[in-house]
Amino acid sequence: MKRRELLKLGAAALTAGALGGCGSKRSAREVLLRYWTGWTGHELQVQRELIAEFNRSHPGIRVKILCVAGSYQKVPIAIAGGDTPDVCSAVWADQLYGYASRGALTPLDGYLARWGRSLNEWMPGVRRMLRYNGRTFALSTTANSNFIAYNRRIFAECGLDPDRPPQTIEELEEAAERTTLRDSRGNYIRYGLRPGGLQIWARVFGGDWYDEENGAITADHPGNVAALAWLQRWFKRYDIRKMETFEAGFGSLEASTGAFYTGKTAMWQTGEWAGENIRRYAPHLDWGYFPLPAPPGGRKNCVQLGGSVFVMPAACRHKDEAFEFLSWICGQYASRRFCREIHNIPPLIEAAQAPEFQSIPLMRDAIRLAGGENAFGPAPVAVWPMYQREIQRAEDRAIHGGGRPAELLKEVQRRVQREFEEAKRYAVF
């Protein structure tokens, strides 16, 4: 028995070993860099092309790309298990500060200086987003913006001036009211807008999630409370149950049957990526867009920055070569080409001025918004993922009619504060 079993084991091990050892051939002095990304599909394809170009133009460095999309576990476990990549873009801006504060990433300021680059190449909001506690921990090659798209035809039909979209909260509320249509039983045929994201609306209303000067969590900031109260009032006025029932019949926004494309909603809170969708699925739609309006004392033209960022794990063993690649892939040329092919906007000021972006009004305006003074990244705290989840839970409860905004946010404050205080004690950075 044992012999047979050993034979079987041996055969399996041999086979697996033979198959498992798919190493790569490289010349003795070539540095092999492992680059992990969360991009898939078309974006991954463009990344592959860019990397091929980098490899050709940089003898001595060979970058190997691996798509690790689909789980939150791969990166932390790999880092914990000592199997880190050299460069990684499978990290979201939301996760950045958690990783940075725990010492998992290499600070990049020294490298930026040595390579003659500066964070000032990036838009101010993005610049702030890439830094944590006075150090730079990431670079980025893409940016995004936010605005509200509106159906000009519907506006005109409802007596609103399609060339003068809402500029204040009151005008927004009025536009929503006027474009809403109900049938005889009170169910929706069309509604004005579904505002979303307490995270951004809090900033619109002058609130903030973190006070950097004093290093304090400010979940219960009056501006945040005002925003949540406004959202709660909105969903009470428009009866969220009726809205959700109506929304259940929406087609996907990745098909010509998307609600905004077919006039089921007059407005749509979205970002510049909508432009590509509309071009593909509803090319004849007569639409416009306007930045998020603010109440008096609030912030105009708010944008919530996020997306993938590029980091260099602390355990990277070829830091100079890794930064060579990092700097190139988040450089003017690569960013410009990548963004052009995937219809994003570059976060680099110079690349963003390129004619292929500036000649498209939507992109041009998106760039202006993303580069504006009210473009924010996530709150720069290590506990941001948990904070974000708590904010969402509070929002979910409030708009479904449960709880008072002030109390809900106080609860968020309490829970996050506790986690935050403790995180500080163990922080490396």
């Binding site: 697996a16 790569s24 599909g41 689909g70 576990q73 199997d83």
Partner: protein
């Protein structure tokens, strides 16, 4: 003993109705796989496309290196199935037919290894494989199979315990050793159970996503489930192509079960043993 007529009709009727319900998911998968890009989410939620787009299949299969991923997945799945079936049946024999001091305690220990959520053991398991130098190979996905799987050891133990003791005793009296009894008495009488174990293991390995993601660092070694991720992007998914690829992925399993269930024949060999 023939089944009465009314039972036959009632049986068929019930089965047909339930079959329709059971097939819903699969019909939807196939239907969606044949839809044109624009049709995937029509507001009225149709099951079937207005006009089948057969090109989705070649498109899906060309979108990722399907053949290579399928081969990788096949290797992992076949070896896993073989390893688990062999090892688990050996270990199950020990827990069911052999009496030894501490047996039941060890059995409960075995069972308890299933009670700790994999989320937390995932990390130290990775460390073990890293220490062994197996990360980046197929080894973590295949080698542990040859040490048995608690789930299937438990299953086979239950089946072995239903085989009458006299059969083993008779063989023992004929001078057979334990290994012979295992091979000549237990295994032949457990064909349905062994088929089940092999099939389930194959299927588990075939569809496994986290294991390959965790341990493979070269996308030429990727498996089909990792390949399916390519159809899902940050802005949404190519549902029709994803479904097409998924349909092709499930076909081998369906085939295996269809063939394997032939071993599910009522055991006639348990007759004729008088006590």
């Amino acid at each position: 003993m023939k089944t009465p007529r009314w039972k036959v009709w009632a049986g068929h009727a019930t089965l047909l109705v339930l079959s329709a319900a059971a097939l819903l998911p699969f019909v939807w998968m196939v239907g969606t796989s044949l839809k044109a890009d624009a049709e995937v989410f029509s507001p009225r939620l149709e099951f079937l496309p207005s006009r089948p787009v057969w090109e989705n299949y070649p498109r899906a299969l060309a979108y990722i290196p399907f053949a290579r991923y399928a081969l990788n997945t096949l290797i992992v799945a076949v070896f896993s199935a073989a390893g688990v079936t062999l090892a688990s049946s050996l270990v199950a024999y020990s827990f069911s037919r052999l009496k030894w001091p501490g047996r039941d305690a060890v059995f409960f220990l075995l069972l308890s290894t299933l009670m700790l959520p994999a989320q937390v053991t995932m990390l130290p398991v990775f460390v073990v494989f890293k220490t062994l130098g197996w990360v980046g190979t197929f080894k973590p996905l295949i080698v542990p199979s040859f040490f048995g799987s608690a789930f299937f050891i438990f299953l086979l133990r239950q089946f072995f315990m239903t085989i009458p003791q006299e059969l083993s005793d008779a063989a023992r009296m004929d001078g057979a050793g334990e290994l012979d009894i295992w091979r000549r008495v237990m295994l032949p009488l457990s064909r349905p159970a062994l088929t089940t174990v092999a099939l389930f293991t194959f299927m588990g390995a075939w569809n496994d996503f986290l294991g390959p993601l965790m341990y493979l660092n070269d996308d030429t070694m990727y498996t089909l489930s990792l390949g399916l991720q390519q159809f899902v992007t940050q802005h949404g998914a190519q549902w029709n192509l994803l479904m097409a690829a998924s349909v092709v992925m499930t076909l081998p399993i369906i085939l295996l079960w269809f063939l394997g269930q032939r071993t599910f024949v009522q055991g006639v060999t348990l007759t004729g043993v008088k006590g």
